[in-house]
Amino acid sequence: MPLKFFIFPLIFLLCFKSIQAQNCNLKISGIIKDLHDSSPIFGAVVRINGSDILTQTSEDGLYFFNQICPGKLIFVVEHSNCNSVQREVILSENTTLNFTLEHHINELEEIIISDNTLKSLKGSTKESRLNSDQINKYSSQGLADALNTLAGVSTLKTGNSVAKPMIHGMYGSRVGIVANGIRLQDQEWGADHAPTIDLNSFENIQLVKGASALKYGGDTPGGIIVLSPSKLILKDSLFGQTIINASENGRGGSISTKIMKTTSDGYYVSSQFSGKQFGDLLAPEYILSNTGVKQMNISLKLGRSKILSGWEVNYSRFQNEIGILRGAHIGNIQDLLRALKTDVPLRIDPFTYLINSPKQEGVHQNFHFTYFNQTSNKAKWQLDYNYQANTRKEFDIRRGIPASTPAIDLKLQTHNFLVNLKWKTKFSMDYEWGVNGILQDNYSNPNTGVKRLIPDYLRYQIGSYFLGAYSPSNSFSWDWGIRLDQNTWDVQKFYNVSDWEERDYAVLFPDFDVQQFGNKLLVNPKLNFLTLATQTGISIILGEQFSASLTYVLSQRSPNASELFSDGLHHSLATLEYGSLSLEKEISNKILLNFSKNKGRFKGTLEPYVSKISNYIFIGPTGIEQTIRGAFPVWQYDTTNASFWGVDAGVDYTFSEQFTFDINASYTYAQDLINREPLISIPPFNSSQILKYTSPKKKFDLELVNHFVSFQNRFPEMNFTVNTLQDGLIIEELVDISTPPSAYQSIDFNFSLYFNLIKQSTSSISFIVNNITQTKYRDYLNRMRFYADDIGRNFQLQFIFSY
């Protein structure tokens, strides 16, 4: 296949002017980027054919020549992982020549489609990213921990190992996770579930703040996290990587290994395996009993890419078992008060690897088939089918029932179809149009002996989107998109007769089929939501160093299953949580700005945003329900209007080749406009500072990281009282679940040594210490804060072997 033939048309041609005087002092500079994701390519060789003039790109992908003679020259750009690119240029003056290299054969077709744009996922929306080195560092932890290093991302925890990424104060259904081009369907069941995905299967993580990736859905006002697998090389090769971690805290570790075989005729096959196990974790002063974790992930991929068409099949299976702190399982408010009053968890057992109840077990299986075809050099279509099966079991401490019987046993199956068409026109316009159909089936196993938390349902979603991007020059781009989705729910849920009547559902929903079983009603709610999303943005490059972008996003989200139907006792907060059938779609308007200085010793970004959300869905206390365990606060999902604003900022300063200093900081303000109070669980101001030393020739590096999280002084008051008996008297005591914990600071240290086991593949050994000073702290966004301190110091050794 004459590859050059396809690559050549993509090269954008710049600055053709007639030749002027013959003096050899022209300056040629430019940037070499990855065509797939616009990331700068480091170490690419740029040379002028027929001469011995050559240079290499810096870490920012930049190159520079001076003293070049005018005339007709052929530039060649080469990189070990890429196909080389040639361009013939007639030079008459100082010129900027930018190149895009392709080292991902799957995306090769885009070369033809978008020949003169250097497009990111969506041009105007600022994205942050994690590369494979940063991902590897968090190999033994989770997705949320890795993303937490980016400004504007926090982690919401409902257990020491149950962590969800939070963007601009939003999480769960308001943040989309896209793996291999398809939305992950596992956030339907509510806040207590971490994304069931293994970081080690991916090599690039992009964070798109503000939901402008409408291709993946229009319902995520927080943002979208896009996980991409490793890139392909179109040549015969076999390579792999193994990462081994050993941690002192939790006396555990992880192993992850992946191997990939590619052939020059476009076939590729890859497999990945990872496993991890930790025992009970340690806070600075005690054991966090029952916080062990086990996890296993396997994925297989087979495909063929023939540039103009290609297919891929992949399968992955993720399984985990997570212990929930024993001291956090409580029976009533009095138990909660007792836990709040003591500094130390009420139950501390000796260290063990055993994971007992309360615990969660999850399995996520994913099957994906994709096919693409480039019908002409102006159009390409792609077909995706994805099947996800997600099971979750939660085990509580129970009486008279074998420990192997879960209290929650759910199975969610999702079929996802996507047809996508891309084409380009003259006038630098690119279009993308697609249709997305989703069929989802949730099954709640009745053998638990506990009232269903989430009912059985079928959900159908059909959506269509139309996107466009206009990039008349390298320094300006405009993009826009619109998406329409119809969501239909067909639910079968049992309600207590008394609840059904108390909430007036019989009057509000007279059309729902109802069947009575004793004191229970089987109801068949049918709900419809039509949602619209639009976005538009511009991005400009101002001179050599500065860039700016402005994005507006309208997103609408239909309520999820837990918001509509939750029904049960929450064991970690002693609250009765109820969904609401009356919820309407949530409508968010968001404006994001980005200013960046991308070059020089001093680099920085400033990203302010503001959003207003009507029908913002939240859960809050509405009353008290008397039960045999005493009075329980009732929390019910409801809607309000909310406003958010905030700033994410980052500054990098390069002292010298060896020393760099980075500061990241973010602040979020969120207010409930109807109840005139702050929203709950909003990240307080936080900042991290990183001092890094890299030895000459990058033989080793040292990194010192300081994390600072301030006290959240904006919080809603959700306290209640409980009557307790003390010294023979009944007294009323306040249960303070509202006041956030104090500010804290923790320091991490990281030492990495690099070496080559095999030519061109860098392996490393790292020594990592987290929370060096054994800081005792509790985090506002960790629900375990009511019961115990956060994790103490951890020494970790990491080996990365690339071959």
Binding site: I330, G331, I397, Y460, F494, L522
Partner: protein, 181 residues
Amino acid sequence: MKFFLNIQHKTLYVLLSLIIISCSKEDPEPINEEELITTVQLTFRAPGITDQIVRWQEGSNNSDAISLAANTQYEVGIIFLDESDPSDIEDITEEVKEEADEHQVFYEFSQLNIGLEQSSSDTLDSNQNPVYINSLWNTSEVGSGTVRVYLIHEPVTKSSSTRDGFAGETDVAVDFLITIE
């Protein structure tokens, strides 16, 4: 563009509805809730006095009041029932006895001086601690107050004189008024 979208919508609706028809859902089974306790019942027995039975039942909101005689020893028995299905009442006390090591019944009194003692007919756990399913209450002077009845699951210790001392999770916490005459 809208027109274009609409057509595509229709064809996809047809396609999807075909899939939907092929996987229609069965009616879910009602769940038989297993660990439910709806009722706490106390029986007071003393020589020469008629047995007194008081109940706390979920949903009824009011518990019965207890009336005791001063300076008397009562043998107090407790049972826990699941009466959610009136045609199939389950006695949960049996489970508590079987799992005596994981359970503790406890009484806390307010504004009353009542001595709580082990009864010889009580269930003992494997360490010979009383579970207080049967207990002895010694009343003294006349007065009125409240008793809070607890069933504690997986207490940290089995020997304590206060509710806080046992820790563990509360499965039952209900109040009864007491008058001593």
